[in-house]
Point group: C2
Chain length 330, copies 2
């Protein structure tokens, strides 16, 4: 008897497949100095959000395929290359409680292994999606945009006059487009038409925006035990987050000057600095602005979700994963 | 009246086209911190050997095309990305008499601009050769190999036991495959069959090998005014060149020990060190070995040239360029 409606796979199923595939990725043994750091980075784990989204989007329109899994892995390798080079540029010591590549080895190893990861990601994506030029084109465009996002993020470190639209554009490029691309590539490889694939792209962009906003919010207002990072880190680094950019925009001129002085004080007591900005954010009603903006993202992603022309069960698998993400980091 | 035999273009024609195309490459204006260093690197000039080879190979099988020119430019952008990151890893101050990117800006700019160059190169190559999967696959494979070559080169800096076969494999990856790939991609995009495209690849690999051997030779035995670099630089850096690797292999055990001691002496007088190794190379007959190996490369490339199934004039244009390269750096 033929199984006419094979069981829909969950995000958990896809996560296992992605992790298995990554653990068995056929990297050459030599030169060891190039490939060992790549395996090290990929073995650090992580949430694998992007490849799982790719596979969930693919499932909306088609049965699981080996090529979709390969494309998912290529996307994850690309994402990990950006983490590797970003950690080097930020001089970060740790990632997921393990030393970063430039700390474990050195800067040159981080540069060259990152380069090779990017090259492997492209090659693997071409092998997976070579037959789907639209998917390939979407990936190629997105990769450049992610670098542009990283550049804006670095540029903003030197500026006190970043506007909210500039902030949104930066997080769109740095975080949004890759999640959007994952969903679009999955849809296109599953045979979705242009309209559906753009819908998936926009859905991913809305989720990516909410994801980054929440990350910004929890860095100040989250619970350290749940969030997994030290609370207040962004404030100490003077990062141009949603909270800071919104607060600077809303503040009266004297208050803005006072905040700018705090930002420029490198010798300030850390707890005092965190307490100061947290208080200012509350006084200016930034948490309410945040809630309102998150609500907008949810409404938008919900409206897009309704328009997805796919079987109910597959849509639910996608929705559960998107919801669980928000839940997890609450 | 139709022109049935349009004039064959020379390497000089192609060089002008490549330079014009690069000067007008549509990089976005923003973020400036990302794209300005890329334009800076590409404006440094250079011999544009790889794109010119690509176009000369393309001309063997087809009339000039816009897509071939785009592929040539993508290849040159890729090559310049490797120079940018290699200069950073080697901490080189200058390239073509101008400050390197990490000196003119900083290390983070060099990392991220290099990454973006690579991403732009892939995107541009896909736009040019998307309709020719074999060409795209050749390019994707080659990019990874070039990083492997750079890794071996860095690994060899720490070793005194590099063998001649290891040396040949390193220069094949670091220098040979990209020239070979240029010729192969040009041939494939011109419609050459698999056999002809592999012939072009091998021809390029032979030329690349001779090119690197000559570079190694001239660094010690060249005329500084013609060579354009300081004579003896490789000796002072202890680089594992054809000369050093051959000499270490040929030396008696006591002489080898003596050479190793010289290599490890960082405080030695520079002129004395250069004179010592130059003398040893002569005594061991390394210049003769070099001549013999170059002869082998020429015989090989000549045999391959004879087998190229293409119009005489187009073949001559290719040969003139290959010959001029050897001449130029003699």
């Amino acid at each position: 008897m033929m199984i006419e409606n094979p069981t829909v796979q969950t995000s958990q199923d896809f996560l296992s497949q992605v992790n298995h595939e990554i653990a068995h990725f056929p990297f050459p043994a030599q030169p060891q100095g190039l490939y060992e750091p790549i395996s090290y980075v990929l073995a650090m784990g992580g949430k694998r959000i992007r490849p799982v989204f790719l596979l969930l989007a693919h499932q909306l329109y088609a049965q699981p395929s080996r090529k979709a899994l390969q494309a998912a892995v290529a996307l994850e390798i690309f994402h990990n290359y950006t983490l590797l080079h970003d950690d080097l540029m930020d001089n970060a010591d740790k990632r997921r409680d393990r030393p970063t590549v430039h700390k474990h080895w050195d800067a040159n190893t981080a540069i060259l292994s990152g380069d090779a990861m990017l090259e492997v990601a492209y090659r693997h994506m071409f092998q997976a999606a070579g037959g789907c030029p639209d998917a390939l084109a979407a990936f190629l465009k997105t990769c450049v945009e992610v670098s542009e996002g990283q550049q804006y993020d670095m540029d903003f470190e030197q500026r006190l006059d970043v506007t909210l639209p500039e902030y949104y554009e930066m997080i769109r490029l740095k975080t949004g487009v890759l999640i959007a691309c994952a969903l679009q590539v999955g849809a296109l490889m599953g045979g979705a038409d242009t309209a559906q694939s753009l819908l998936l792209y926009q859905y991913g962009a809305a989720i990516g925006r909410a994801f980054q906003l929440r990350d910004d919010y929890l860095d100040t207002f989250g619970d350290a035990a749940v969030f997994g990072k030290r609370i207040g880190g962004d404030i100490l680094e003077g990062k141009k987050t949603f909270l800071l950019v919104s607060a600077l925009e809303k503040a009266s001129t004297p208050l803005r000057r006072e905040m700018e002085q705090w930002l420029q004080r490198k010798d300030a007591d850390e707890q005092e600095k965190i307490a100061y900005f947290t208080q200012i954010y509350k006084e200016l009603g930034i948490p309410t602005d945040y809630e309102r903006e998150m609500e907008r993202c949810f409404l938008k992603s919900d409206a897009l979700f309704q328009q997805m022309d796919a079987p109910h069960e597959a849509k639910q698998a996608l929705k559960s994963f998107a919801d669980s993400l928000n839940h997890r980091i609450c």
